[in-house]
Structure formats: C-alpha cells, structure tokens
C-alpha cells in the first residue's frame, strides 16, 4: 500500500485537470462528483497507508518517484516520505478536504464559477499533499508555494469585488515575505549539510552542538517562513482579510490545513529547532503574543467570519507556543483537533451565512437556533471544543500545551490561560449573538431563513463527532489514557526528546492546572451568557464611542493602519521617488537627453547646408587646407 503513495497527490491533480479544462462543458453534478471523488480516493489511499504504517515495525518510508535535479554533486530526488507525522497530516488534509468538498457542492451551488472553484480546490489539495509528503525541503517548498498560489486564487475568487482582490494580493504578498525566509533557509541548509533531504539533514544536525549559530540562523529563517504561512505577528493581518474568499475556502485553507503548514514544517524540522533554543524562545514569545493579541481582537469583532479568523490566528499562536516550549506532540495534537473544530465552526458559519443570504454581521442575526437547529448543535460542539471544556477535543490538546508551558515558564502559562479565557468568551459571544435572542435582520432575510441542504449538514455532523471525540487519540496518562498520539508520533520526535527534559509535573499539579483552565473557560462562558443572553447586549455600531481598550480591540489594534503608515506609505513614497526622480528624470532623462541633444545639434548643424555653391567650395578648400596643415604638422 505504501508504494501506492504516488496515487494520493495524483487523484486531486487529475480532478484539477478534468474540472479545470471542462469547467464550462461539464455539468455541476459532474464537476462536484469529480471534485469529491478525487479527494475521496486520496483519502482512501491515505487510510490504507495509515493502517499499514500503524502496524508496521519501521516507521519511516521514503518512496522515490523520479530523479528530479541531478547536477554534479547536487542530487534532489522527487520523493515522498511516509512517517507518522505525514501519515496523520495526510488523513487531515484528505479527510477534512473531502468533507469540505462535499459541503462546497451545496454551498457554491448557486455560484457561476462552480467548476473553477472545484478545480482550484483540487489543485490546493494537490499542493498541500506535496507539501506534506515531500521527503526534502525542495519538494516541500513546491507545495508551500503552490498552496500560497491556491490561497491567492481562492481568496480572490470573487475578484470583481476590488476589496476581495486586494485581500488576495495582501495574502500573497505577506506570504511572499515569509517564503523568502523559507527559501533562504533551504539554501543555508544545503550549504551547511550538503543535502536538502530530511533523511540526510536531521542525522547530521543531531550531531551538532546546541546553540550552533548556523542552526539558529536556519531555524530563524524557517520560522520566518512559518510566520508568513501561519499568520503570526507581525505577518498575521492577511488571514482576517482572507475571509473575503468563499467560506469553504476559509474552512479548508485558512483554518484546517494551509495555515498549519508552518507548524507542520517546524514539527518536521524539530531536531533543528531543539538544537536552537534561542529560536525556540522567539517562537514561544511570538506565539504567545499572537494568541493574546488575536484573542483580544476577536472579542469585539462583529463579522462572524472575522471572529473565527482571529480565533484561528490565536489558536495558531497556541500551536507555536507549544512548539516553542518543546511540546511538539502537543502542538501537532492541537493542529489535529483545531482542524476538526475550526473547520466545523467555519462550515457552520458558512451555513449561517448561506441561510442569511450572505449576511455576515452578527448584529443582524440572532435567534437562529430554531431555524437552523442542526447548524446550532454542531457549532455548539465546536465552540465547546475550542473553549477547552472536557471531554471535547480542544481540552486535551490545549491542556497538553498549557502543561508544557507551565513547566517552561509560569508567566507564559498565565498569559496563555488568559488567552484561553478570551477564547471561550468570544466563541460563546459569537454563538449567543447568532443563535440566541430575537432575529435582528430584515424581513426578507427572515422569510428566506432555512436549514442548509444535506450536502452541507452531513459534513457538519461528521466534523462535530470528530470535534467531540477527537481528543480521545491523546488522553494523557494523568487522566488514565495511554496517549496514543504521543506513542504514534514518538519516532518523529525521538531525537528531540532525548535532548530535552521530559515533562516532570506531578499529577496533582496537572490536575490543578486543568481545573484552573477549565474554570477559567467556564467563567468566561458564564460571563458571555450573562452579557449577551441575560442582558441581551448587542455590539454597538461603528460610530459609537468606545473606551480605549474596546476601541483598540474593535479596530484590531490599528495594526493595519500602523503598517499602512509605517511600511506601505514610506515604501510608496520611496517607490514614487524612484519612479519620478530616479527612473523618469534620471535614467529616462539621460537616454532622452541624448536623443534630444542629437536632434537639437542636427537642427543647428544642418544650417551649414546653405545651398550656396561658393560656400561649399570655400568649405572644401578650407578642409583641404586643414588636412594639409594637419599632415604637415603631424609628420
């Protein structure tokens, strides 16, 4: 089965080609069928590979596909790597990808670009699979760039809206900044280890001393790539804007899969990071800052997708915090559970938006519980999961990260718990505003309200089950579980683990920590309940005066404005200077000056041609005399 791994990316690629070429000829049924089936087939192969890997003794297979780059000593094969990390990621990408494809057949049914949408979606899955499967940094980089491209195409899917098109450009450009870091890191890896193959790089790196300056540089650059792709401070502002894309895209690309590529990449390169503690410190601080900042913004957003977008940024911050403190398993656990519940929440939000005729502002919603019972129930599961309330999945993954953070640094833990309180608050706020109270939209919207079709609700139900039970794969020893995930991933993080201290918290401390974070989550849930259900508070409109903190949060800490004034505008001015002064006046001036000079000189010189024969003869004689004198004096 493992030898058939090449089939996994092949199916979506075929789906992309069929749907892409036949988008105007095939009917919507065929397009949807091809799109879903291709991902379904990949999922089936992934499951087979996963089962085989789970039962096999060796935990790492490299399957060469073909020799790709072979020039002198540079040998970069196009080959795939199957190990526990990539096998799990394959399941997430293809499994959730499949559910979201099914959902899209319902959600995008009225859209004119149905075929185009499915071809892009399939292309995205293809690149994501390359990213996950690549057995060296170069193949990974292809996937890395490819998902960025698909993200751009899908954010700007409704490109006739200028704001959406700019959001796509913003995402692409911010990603490019990160990609540059990644690319330089790959070059550095090649010059340092003389190979980009994971199987060659990591054993060599494992022999290096901890804190080696080259390793620090490489990991820092890799982390820059991760910052861009996974939307961390300072490059996170593209992700909320990326909500301009269709909701299934937000669920698949900007919540479940692509944005976790940064975490995947760091988890993959864990040995490099373990040996660069300085970089890890930066990773944890950035993750911490991001999780708190994004959560603080999310508490006052009124656009249902914006809340979820900032929530995604915040949860990604948790994952980076986990990576930063060496909790690789915990971070990856959170990737998995987050993929479940965030995809669920986004799809649920999509269902709400679908029912509300493309209304996204929660101030115009309310009381939807009766009309959308399934959406409400499933989203509630997702909300409880993300809030970290046991026994739903988010609790287990978040608490694993929190336990490691506590051991690492108590202050970090405090901040992370405050972040968790925010998380619980903004999620329940979103739920209450959307589903409780009375309907605040127009009567037209009220008449139109309906539960979504089965193609949309079935993925919701599946994801709700996964969100509820997903935590079971990683029940820690303290709660009487065997932590299957940790054992399964152990071969990947083996070397790193041997170089770091294992978690030494005693069970009492762990119980206290869990109790504290759960209490915190419940308290803020209660606060949200009192504020939005009991008091029926509705967020004020844009023009209302707010207090300082509320204003900061509502306006996203003015980050976009700060970037605009301190980066975009100076760059704009600089470009203007180069354009007007250097290029137009300088370079063009010189070139055009020569032309003008020739014209002007010819204008005066041509007057010599007077038409007077006598003058010509005079000039001729003068010329001959001049030549004569010249030859006489020269010799």
């Amino acid at each position: 089965m493992i030898n058939l791994v090449w089939l996994i990316p092949l199916f979506p690629l075929l789906g992309f080609l069929i749907n892409g070429l036949g988008r105007n000829m095939l009917s919507k049924t065929v397009v949807g069928f091809v799109g879903c089936l291709s991902v379904m087939a990949s999922f089936a192969v992934s499951v087979g590979i996963f089962l085989e890997l789970n039962s096999s003794e060796t935990k790492s297979f490299i399957i060469p596909i073909f020799d790709w780059i072979s020039a002198g000593t540079v040998k970069i094969p196009f080959s795939f790597l199957i190990d526990p990390l990539s096998a799990l990621m394959l399941l997430i990408v293809t499994g959730i990808g499949f559910l979201i494809h099914v959902y899209s057949t319902g959600y995008m049914n009225h859209d004119a670009g149905f075929g185009k949408f499915f071809s892009y979606l399939n292309l995205f899955i293809f690149f994501m699979l390359l990213l996950v499967l690549g057995s060296n940094y170069v193949v990974m980089f292809i996937g890395w760039e490819g998902v960025g491209l698909c993200s751009y195409l899908l954010i700007g899917f409704w490109f006739s809206n200028t704001a959406y098109a700019s959001a796509a450009k913003k995402a692409f450009i911010m990603n490019r900044i990160g990609d540059l870091g990644f690319l330089i890191a790959v070059f550095l890896i090649f010059t340092t280890f003389n190979s980009v193959e994971f199987a060659n790089v990591f054993p060599q790196a494992a022999n290096m001393v901890s804190g080696d300056s080259t390793l620090i540089l490489i990991t820092a650059l890799l982390f820059v790539g991760a910052i861009g792709k996974s939307a961390q401070i300072p490059l996170f502002t593209w992700l909320p804007d990326a909500m301009a894309g269709p909701t299934p895209v937000s669920a698949l690309i900007h919540a479940a899969t692509m944005v976790t590529a940064g975490i995947y990449m760091i988890a993959r390169s864990n040995i490099l990071f373990t040996l660069a503690p300085e970089t890890l410190a930066v990773v944890s601080i950035i993750g911490l800052a991001t999780l708190l900042m994004a959560a603080a913004i999310a508490v006052s957003q009124t656009d249902i997708k914006k809340v979820l977008a900032y929530s995604t940024v915040s949860q990604l911050g948790y994952m980076f915090l986990g990576l930063g403190v060496g909790a690789y398993t915990g971070a990856f656990f959170h990737v998995i559970t987050h993929a479940f519940f965030k995809a669920l929440l986004f799809l649920g939000a999509g269902s709400v938006i679908h029912a509300m005729s493309n209304e996204q502002d929660m101030r115009n919603m309310g009381g939807l519980r009766k009309k959308l019972p399934l959406t409400f129930l499933t989203m509630m599961v997702g909300t409880i999961a993300i809030a970290g309330i046991p026994p739903f999945s988010g609790f287990f993954s978040k608490d694993e990260i929190l336990a490691h953070v506590y051991e690492h640094n108590k202050v970090f833990w405090m901040i992370a718990v405050i972040g968790a309180m925010f998380t619980s608050f903004y999620m329940f706020r979103m739920m209450y505003l959307t589903f409780n109270g009375s309907f605040r939209g127009t009567t037209d919207q009220e008449h139109h309200l309906h539960e979504s079709p089965a193609s949309m609700t079935i993925p919701l139900i599946v994801l709700a089950v996964l969100s509820a039970l997903g935590g079971l794969i990683g029940i820690p020893a303290v709660l009487g579980g065997g932590h299957w995930l940790e054992n399964f991933l152990a071969p990947v993080f083996e070397v790193s683990k041997s170089k770091t201290n294992a978690l030494t918290l005693d069970h009492t401390t762990e119980y206290v920590l869990m109790a504290l974070s759960v209490t915190a989550a419940l308290l803020s849930m209660l606060y949200a309940y009192v504020r939005y259900v009991k008091q029926g508070h509705i967020p004020a409109n844009d023009r209302t005066d707010r207090g300082l903190l509320a204003r900061l949060s509502y306006n996203k800490f003015y980050i976009d404005q700060v970037y605009h004034s301190f980066i975009t505008r100076p760059l704009d001015t600089l470009s203007g200077f180069f354009y007007k002064t250097v290029d137009k006046a300088g370079i063009d001036g010189i070139v055009n000056g020569f032309g003008k000079g020739a014209v002007e000189a010819s204008k005066s010189f041509r007057l010599l041609q007077t038409g007077m024969v006598g003058f010509y003869i005079f000039m001729m004689v003068a010329g001959i005399l001049a030549l004569l004198f010249y030859s006489m004096y020269k010799i």
Partner: protein, 109 residues
Amino acid sequence: MENITQAIQGVPLNHYILLCTIIFSIGVIGVLIRRNAIVIFMSVELMLNAVNLLLTAFSVQHNDPSGQVFVFFIMALAAAEVAVGLAIIVMIFRNTNSTDVNILNKLKW
C-alpha cells in the same frame, strides 16, 4: 632641341615650384571668389595644369619618366571632366539663363 632641353634643365627647380604655387593659388582664389560657373571651371583647369607642370618638372629633375606619364593621364581626365562639366553648365544656362552659381541655391537644409 638639345639647347631647349638644356635651357629647361638650367632653370632651377625652385622657380618651377614658385610658378606652380602662384598658378595654383590663382586657381584657388578664382574658384573661391568668382561666381561665374565657366570662370570657376577655368580656375579648376589652372589648378590642374599647375600640378601638371610641377609633375613634369619633378620628373625631369629626378630623371623619372613616370611623372610625365601621369601628366598624360591627368590631361585625359581633365578633357573628360570638361566635356561633362561644360554639358552641365550648358544645361544650367538653359534652365536659368545664367551661369551664376549662386542662383543654384534651391537645394538646402
């Protein structure tokens, strides 16, 4: 005949050079200051013949006949040139009723 040759050889070379320079200068000045095409033509002939004379003189001086052969070529060339040149001048006269070269100033700038 012997006497004539001896007489010619008796004239120092400097005198030839001086005479040729004078004739040539007259030709040049004629070309420069006259406006009548025929006179200009004649001045050109003067220059040519000044050169011819000089060639002959040097030929005798160096006992090298090739200079005199060269003179024949120049004379033949001058004859051909005169034929063409005079034809042009005749045409100019027919068209403009004048041989003043300054009238022909249409072709400019």
